[in-house]
Subunit: 204 residues, 4 copies
């Protein structure tokens, strides 16, 4: 087997991701990426024909990891409880830990970053972002609907919006983390979301 370039490719993706989250896609130059990754232009353009292809690869990797996390959360929650409300609350709880860890490592969400530069990318890329959001909404909506079969919400519920609120809290927390330079908002915001769900479906 000839030389294996997988590691190089991964290092390029890591370097680019960090730079894009801090400077934006447009200000992230290939030169900076290769310097950060410790390689040369030859190597870069061997693995990615264009900068745009690098962008595609980055969000592909990110969305896949994001949805893998969602699957993981769902599976764990369903193992830990049989009650739909408990499952929902456990999912949010696990998300609190996972997202808090993530925000420590890299303060910023690639999906939001790409959304704020969407005119630079083709529709296929935006479609990937949409798919990620839709999958989260779908999974949480499912759970909310299951809860509503046994419990009456205290206020009339827009299921999709309620599910989307998880996304809002995560995205809001990311932005505040960057603006304030703190890492506490992810936990704080998602706890508000959990509180809301609890109050909405409280027994009494």
């Amino acid at each position: 087997m000839p030389r294996d370039g997988t590691k190089t490719k991964e290092r390029i993706l890591d370097a680019a991701q960090t730079l894009i989250l801090g400077h934006g896609y447009g200000a992230t130059t290939v030169d900076k990426v290769i310097e950060e990754a410790g390689i040369t232009k030859g190597a870069f353009f061997y693995h990615f024909d264009t900068k745009a292809e690098l962008a595609r690869a980055i969000i592909k990797r990110h969305v896949e990891a994001d949805l893998a996390l969602l699957d993981d959360l769902t599976a764990k929650a369903e193992r830990l409880s049989r009650d739909p409300l408990q499952q929902l609350l456990i999912m949010v709880g696990l998300l609190i830990d996972a997202a808090s860890e993530a925000v420590e490592a890299v303060p910023g969400c690639l999906i939001a970053s790409f959304a704020y530069q969407k005119m630079e990318f083709d529709e296929e890329t935006t479609e990937k972002l949409r798919h990620a959001f839709l999958t989260w909404r779908g999974r949480l909506s499912e759970k909310i609907r299951a809860v509503m079969e046994t419990r009456k919400p205290k206020l009339p519920v827009n299921v999709d919006a309620l599910a989307d609120m998880a996304t809002s809290c995560v995205e809001g927390a990311y932005i505040m983390s960057m603006v304030y330079g703190e890492r506490t908002h992810m936990r704080a915001q998602l706890e508000q979301y959990r509180n809301y769900l609890e109050l909405l479906f409280a027994e009494t």
Copy 2:
């Protein structure tokens, strides 16, 4: 009498703002701005010494308008009711209308856009973003604290996080608007926020 350059300056700011929200700051070139604004290089650099100064002017204008809106909301709410909870809910209600209108015009928040490219700007710029967020937090926290002097919340409350949630909902809605290409999320998310406040401070 020299020609009035105010209109030209405003057109530059408008063009740049639209481009930045769609493509990001780095991908927004002076050439594209002047093309969009229908002027020439000479005119641009007469009004702005550098591209960075344009960026500063844009967020300055945006933050000022943002805080003016906040003042407006507060004043109106305080005129409409004397009860702190009612004032809080009215503020959110007015925000729903104002923000929904805004998202129709330009789907995207300049503060978030700059946050996702903060490494491109100096600390002074980030400080302006922080100031905007802090002012909203401060104003809403104030109201929340006023509410809590007469009402006991159903769950223990982190006042700052609860106030920040307005920001989360707005920012989340902006991002989802861009990804989904819809304009409904702003209203939907802020209504969740109002529901949460109502449930938290409900009498019974």
Copy 3:
């Protein structure tokens, strides 16, 4: 009136033309052109958006000069004699002097150079080359036909091919000039052509 860039543009065209004739279009880099022209990249790309546009401008200028020469030759010949054969021979005679001068200055024909790289250019460019050749053919064919109305050729004549032979001699002379590093072939070849015409339409 603001600064006049016409001279700069002309210097770019001159520099590029010389380089292209020696190195070919592909090996003629913008850097070499601007160095030769004594300007900067900014100036170059102000006048020509792309290298391809430079190519278009060069052949446009060349073809126009080429056809202007043809018009000049025709007018002079028609002034100097009323006999079609004399006019034809005078045209070739004047061409001998003009082309010999040209080959002294720049040994090579832009049309041939572009023809040998035609896959690099669009069809519109090739069309311009064709137009130049066709105009020469048309003008000479006209004269040949006029001669044949009064004189019987010694051998059956393919009028177009006979007219094209002027082009063959010029192009052949250019190539041999470059390969041999001599400047004599233009005169020598065109004199053969004139001999051929004389023999073909000789009285006895």
Copy 4:
């Protein structure tokens, strides 16, 4: 036993030759050559150390084939007649057929192509081009001189120029073939040349 690389080498030469005649040497990249030949970089640089060596190999092959054709023509003509004028005319006649076939296959002359990019190559390469031209001139001059020992030309003759005219007609025909996109010019131009020779050395 190692694989036979002769076929690969030949395919590289063929691919490169076609590309050079269409795009020029400078625009003919190794990447395009290997794509056209259906091989990889490794294979290419195994057979040719540098791109320049490829160029040398191409003109070497071309000149050798060209001179082999000349020998073939000469031998055939000398077998078919003992009269110098007949030999000369037969040579041109055979050349008409051979060159017409060649122009069908690949419209363009490598020698001219290299001549129009001669500054890209070393003197040794130009020397090869010169050698090819000189050999044709020598062979035809020889025959012309033999003719002149028995026949008086109708007009004073520059022997070298008359011999070179064969080259002019061939090169001119190639260029016109490319510009017009037709294949008829080779025959038409060389027939003019034959006519000229006939008229020049006609008995009466």
